[in-house]
Amino acid sequence: MTDLLALQVRCSDQVMFQKVGGESVLLDLASEHYFGLDETGTRIWELLAEDGAVRRAFHTMLEEYDVKEEILHRDFSNLLDELVQEGLLALVEESDGREKNIG
C-alpha cells in the first residue's frame, strides 16, 4: 500500500479553481465538468496547490482543525482518491518522481 504522506501531487493544469466564500468551484477543461469542494476540501486543495507536498498539507490540516489524526488520514485519503479519479490531481511518489495512482 502506498504511504499517503510520502506522496507528492500535482494539480492538473487543465483545472481552474475559484473560491466562493469558504468553498470552491473547480472546472476541469478536459472533461468540461464542474466540481465543488467544501471548506475543508478547499483548504486541502489550496495547500496541495502550493507545493504538492501531501505530508505538509496533512500536518497543516491537523494543526488547523480539531480532528483526530486517523479520521483526517481517512478523509484526506478519500478526497485525494476522488481528485485523482477525476483527473484533477496527479499523484507522484516523493522518492522517484514517477506518477502513480493512490491505493
Binding site: E23, L27, L29, E32, Y34, G36
Partner: protein, 396 residues
C-alpha cells in the same frame, strides 16, 4: 444575437465586406449551391444570388430571419433562397453546398459554438472539394498600455464609491474580456501571432498559443490586446486589428495590476481558449521579466476567475442535491403535458387558467407562458391557420 443596427454595422464594415465579396466572386458560379450559415439579415445570401448562384440555403436560428425573408422578396431572390430557421447543426440540405459562407465569431473567432458549428457544416453540408468562406483566421496579440481601459476595469472597485470598500471584487473584475475599438491603446510590443485556425482542416475547437514578447518601448503594461486576421480566399484578408475601426473590435485582457514595462523586458504569455458547455473559457497566464530575467509580474488569469458563483446556486446544481419542483415548475410541467398535438396554445392557456387561477391575471398572460414554452419545446410542425384567420399572440 445581434440587433438590426448591429447587422447594419457589419454591412458597413467595408474591409470585411470587400474580403467576403471578393472570395464569393471567385468561388460562386451560375451552377453553385451556396449556404449562408448565420444569415442574419441575409446579405451574403443576396450577394450569392447576385453572383448567379442556382440555389441558396440561408440558415439562421433567430427571428431576424423574418427581415431577411422580406428583403429577399423585395429584391426578387425569394425563389432561389430557402430560408431555414434553425441552427445549422440541426439542418440537412437536399443538395450539398459548393460554397459555405459564414461569420459566426465575435470579437474573436472563438465565440460560443462558432468553431464547432463550422466543423459540423464542413463535415455534413459541404460538397467534397467545396469552399469555406472564411478559410483561415490568424490570431494576434500585443501587450498594451491603456489607462482608460484599465480604469474602466478597476476604478469602480478601487474608488470606494459612496464610502464603501469594493476592493475585494477587483480580482474577479480583472478576469474579464473587455471589448474595445482598439483606438485607446498604445502597443508596448510588436504584434505577435499566437494561433491559426484553418477551417478546412480544423479538428479540435480548443485553441492554445505561447507568446514571447519583447517590449519595444517603456510604459505601463495594463494587459493584452487580441484580434484576428481573416482570410476569405487566396491572398484576400482583412483584419480586426487596433485602429482599423473594425466592427468586431478588439479583446482587451487586463492584468490584475499594471506593470511598469521597460524597453527590452520580455513577456511570456500562454493563452488558451477552451470550449466548455458551448461557451469559451479564455485563460491568459503572463510573466513579465526584466533583461536580467528577474520577474516583475506574474498573473494567472481566466474568464473562469471572473465568473460569479453563489454557494446556494452551486448546491442546487450539484449531483447530490435532491430537487423539489416549485410552483413555476409545476405549471411548466402541466403546460408541457398538454402539448400533445391536439390543443392550440389558446386552449392550453384556458386549461392553465382553470388549474392555476391565482397565478394569472388574464388569458393573455397564460398564452404568453404557453407561447414561450412552445417556442422552446414544440417541434415546429403545426397546421397553418386558414387564410384570413386572426391570430393573437400572448407576447413576442
Amino acid at each position: 444575437m445581434y440587433s438590426l443596427s448591429g447587422y447594419g454595422e457589419m454591412i458597413r464594415d467595408d474591409s470585411r465586406m470587400a474580403a467576403y465579396v471578393t472570395a464569393m466572386q471567385r468561388s460562386i458560379t451560375e451552377d453553385s449551391v451556396v449556404a449562408d450559415i448565420g444569415t442574419g439579415v441575409g446579405i451574403f445570401a443576396f450577394i450569392a444570388c447576385r453572383l448567379g448562384a442556382r440555389k441558396v440555403y440561408a440558415v439562421e436560428p433567430e427571428d431576424i430571419i423574418g427581415v431577411a425573408r422580406e428583403l429577399a422578396a423585395a429584391n426578387g431572390f425569394g425563389d432561389r433562397i430557402e430560408f431555414i430557421q434553425k441552427r445549422s447543426t440541426e439542418v440537412d440540405f437536399s443538395e450539398k453546398a459548393d460554397v459555405i459562407v459564414s461569420d459566426l465569431g465575435g470579437v474573436l473567432p472563438m465565440f460560443r459554438t462558432s468553431l464547432s458549428d463550422i466543423v459540423d457544416a464542413r463535415e455534413r453540408l459541404l460538397a467534397p472539394g467545396g469552399t469555406l468562406i472564411r478559410r483561415t483566421d490568424r490570431l494576434w496579440a500585443a501587450v498594451v498600455e491603456s489607462p482608460r481601459l484599465y480604469d474602466k476595469v478597476s476604478r469602480p472597485w478601487l474608488d470606494r464609491p459612496f464610502g464603501v470598500d469594493l476592493g475585494h471584487a477587483l480580482q474577479k473584475a480583472s478576469n474579464v474580456i473587455v471589448r474595445t475599438s482598439g483606438n485607446d491603446v498604445e502597443l508596448l510590443t510588436a504584434p505577435v501571432p499566437w494561433g491559426a485556425i484553418d477551417y478546412h482542416e480544423l479538428a479540435t475547437v480548443d485553441v492554445r498559443g505561447d507568446i514571447d514578447f519583447m517590449a519595444r518601448r517603456a510604459g505601463q503594461g495594463h494587459g493584452l490586446l487580441l484580434w484576428f486576421e481573416g482570410e476569405t480566399a487566396d491572398g484576400v484578408t482583412y483584419t480586426s486589428g487596433p485602429g482599423g475601426n473594425s466592427v468586431y473590435g478588439n479583446a482587451f485582457l487586463p492584468w490584475e495590476a499594471p506593470v511598469a514595462v521597460s524597453e527590452t523586458d520580455r513577456i511570456h504569455v500562454k493563452i488558451s481558449a477552451d470550449l466548455v458547455h458551448d461557451e469559451y473559457q479564455l485563460s491568459w497566464r503572463s510573466r513579465i521579466l526584466d533583461r536580467r530575467g528577474d520577474e516583475k509580474g506574474r498573473f494567472m488569469q481566466s474568464t473562469f476567475q471572473g465568473q460569479a458563483f453563489a454557494a446556494e446556486s452551486l448546491r442546487r446544481r450539484s449531483a447530490s442535491y435532491t430537487p423539489l419542483r416549485n410552483l413555476e415548475g409545476e405549471i411548466d410541467a402541466y403546460v408541457l403535458q398538454q402539448m400533445d398535438g391536439t390543443r392550440t396554445s389558446g386552449e392550453i392557456a384556458n386549461l392553465v387558467l382553470d388549474a392555476y387561477p391565482k397565478q394569472y391575471q388574464s388569458w393573455e398572460e397564460a398564452v404568453a407562458r404557453v407561447g414561450e414554452l412552445s417556442r422552446r419545446y414544440a417541434t415546429g410542425e403545426s397546421s397553418k391557420p386558414p387564410v384570413g384567420t386572426f391570430v393573437q399572440f400572448g407576447s413576442t
